[in-house]
Symmetry: C2
Subunit: 404 residues, 2 copies
């Protein structure tokens, strides 16, 4: 159930909580809040471990509660909040408390498995959840969407591709959708030969042509695993069948997503590469707020290109699609194995081609061991994830040797 709306002197006030306030998505959200402070009241803010920065934000935004995930950062947060009257918390339970507090709208921008419990807590009390983490949908998608629906929560995708699809879907009804197409930049190796791809270095993989992001997601963009994970997210977000989902490579990243309806109309959302656009869409939903994002100038951009993804050079996409079709625990295993593989690649212990190879081997091993179960709770999702990580680490030496 949605908490009652609040009203201020300037009209309705939306109460908001930011889970992950000091990260990139959190900062962009705060940038938008700052532009029209009278329309928002900040209930709670959380951060991973930067207590001082969080305390400063909490004071500026007038939050009622601030929490850090890392217990060791509690003292710093507490000191920073001294005299402000803002409550402080730390640890996993404090994150859930932040999510549970009565804010109409929650930005779920914590990454990793730590996001599961607080995001679920927000959804289960019927809040509008702006979902900026992959884990809830990839590792526990069926569970998450089922509980959100039961609680009457609204789940809004923040990711530019899914947000684009969400916007395009408003042009028709669910049963009128024929196909959902996610666009992929193709990453830095789009035009590399198979030979060139064998010698890819970490430095090369960290150069994304369009978006400036963290190393994990940048490497996922280079393997196209990122798009595979997005297919899995899209399946749950939009309740579509795997065969209704498609990917097209679009290097300019201007068209963020497309929906084909049964009459032949294709509705697309386009925009400059500025995360404030999808965040603003979620923040003001079902209305639209003004943003300072650069206006799209198609004549200046001049050319948009599209091509099929190459399954030979980018096997991660096919592996992810198999996990998507298999369903159950496969996406959870896929995601966990990929996290291990990317970390090993970053650490220099696995070649670039070893990333999809390790993921595929892990999926096979978990399946063979009869451990491919669909998570029915957050704890189970975490258990499936941990088991997959163990398997991936176990398989690492063999795969690293083979793929080098």
């Amino acid at each position: 159930m949605q908490p009652p709306s609040e009203t201020g002197p300037g009209g309705p006030v939306r109460s908001v909580t930011l889970l992950g306030a000091t990260g990139s998505i959190g900062s962009s959200t705060i940038d938008l809040l700052r532009r029209d402070r009278s329309r928002y009241r900040v209930e709670a803010v959380t951060a991973h471990r930067n207590g001082a920065a969080l305390a400063q934000l909490a004071r500026e935004l007038g939050a009622r509660f601030a929490a850090v995930a890392d217990l060791r950062a509690y003292d710093e947060l507490k000191a920073g909040l001294s005299g402000s009257g803002i409550e402080a918390g730390a640890g996993p339970a404090a994150l859930v408390e932040a999510a549970d507090r009565p804010a109409e709208w929650v930005m779920a921008a914590i990454t990793g498995a730590a996001s599961l419990a607080p995001t679920l807590a927000a959804a289960e009390r019927g809040a509008t959840v702006a979902l900026a983490n992959k884990e809830c949908l990839v590792c526990a998608g069926a569970l998450f969407m089922r509980r959100a629906a039961a609680a009457g929560a609204t789940v809004l995708p923040v990711d530019s591709e899914h947000n684009a699809i969400f916007q395009a879907l408003s042009a028709g009804r669910r049963e009128e959708v024929r196909r959902i197409v996610l666009t992929a930049s193709g990453g830095p190796f789009r035009t590399f030969s198979r030979e060139q791809m064998r010698k890819v270095t970490l430095e090369q993989a960290l150069k994304h042509p369009i978006w400036s992001m963290g190393p994990k997601i940048t490497i996922d963009s280079a393997t196209l695993m990122n798009k595979g994970l997005e297919l899995i997210e899209a399946r749950h977000l939009f309740a579509v069948r795997p065969e209704e989902l498609d990917v097209v490579v679009h290097p300019q990243s201007v068209v963020h997503g497309l929906v084909e309806f049964r009459d032949g109309s294709v509705i697309a959302q386009l925009g400059s590469p500025d995360m404030r656009i999808p965040i603003a869409h979620c923040l003001a939903f079902p209305e639209r707020m003004a943003t300072p994002a650069q206006r799209l100038d198609l004549a200046r951009i001049s050319t948009l290109t599209f091509e099929e993804p190459d399954p030979e050079r980018f096997p991660a996409l096919s592996i992810a699609r198999h996990a998507l079709v298999a369903g159950g625990g496969a996406p959870t295993v896929l995601n966990a194995a990929n996290e291990v593989a990317v970390a090993e690649f970053v650490a220099g212990r696995l070649g670039f081609a070893g990333i999809p190879a390790l993921v595929e081997a892990t999926l096979d091993a978990v399946e063979r061991n009869g451990e491919m179960v669909e998570p029915q709770s957050v704890d189970q999702a975490v258990a499936v994830d941990h088991n997959a990580r163990r398997q991936a680490s176990h398989l690492l030496p063999e795969i690293a040797a083979m793929a080098s």
Copy 2:
């Protein structure tokens, strides 16, 4: 007021009337009706002068009334309908009668000034009007939209560009729209130099790169006057200010129109060049029906390009924009003068550059004579139109000599 919906054994039945059943838009509409006859009941069909073809269609579709605009075609129609029990009519009053009969949905695909009275009749009884003629909006846009709104009519644009905008607008609210962008193919002379454009022949002007259409609209596409007229239509259809309207040249004609919202999101409608797509959108609105239109394959199309229209080589667009900003009777005069100019170009009595020159000279002359009045009725619109045609014919020799 909308006539009550009808119900058949297979669910709700939509009663439809086709004004202009034998033309290209009429034929495409009938192609869609044929695919699911149980969902539609045909009330009336009209044609210009092909009585035999209309009689055959009326029989096939089980229409109750059929009318030809040309009185001389009445006998042929009457003979063709003999023994069918279908009523026959002829002349302008019969077209209005066809529009007036109780059909929930009316396809207004009669072209020219003859379209005004019947289309207005359908709108004034509150029908859903699928608008496939330019004249209602260009010559009497304010009047038409005001009367349609007063009667509670729904006006749906059939034209692929306006239909695209209409679809894209569903992703937000009117006050959230920052800009509406119409796409233009650029016509056959997009890449011509100023020198080449001076020697353009009729044959060259009749070759449209994408759509196969009649000579008038093909030449309007070559001058870009077509896009200028579409700006005027868009102004009335979507109740936007001239400065909110823009044109971008997009030679592949895959993106049919775009709407920029204030958050920076741009929503576009794309599709194969098949008029059945926008017609189906109107026919099933607010639902969407399946069509056999070719599915859009962006990877196969591969490249979409965009550029600013060149005002030097395509002065018609600027002239139309001036008429758009001026409002009142200017768009009516623009349209009438352009019809004269194109007819004279087709007849070989005016060069290609003479088309915009004659339109501009006519606008100036009508303004100078103090005859630029906003039509308050269909009769007044027709009078403004006739006066402009007279002025254009009067100016023709001078302009033809100057522009040759």
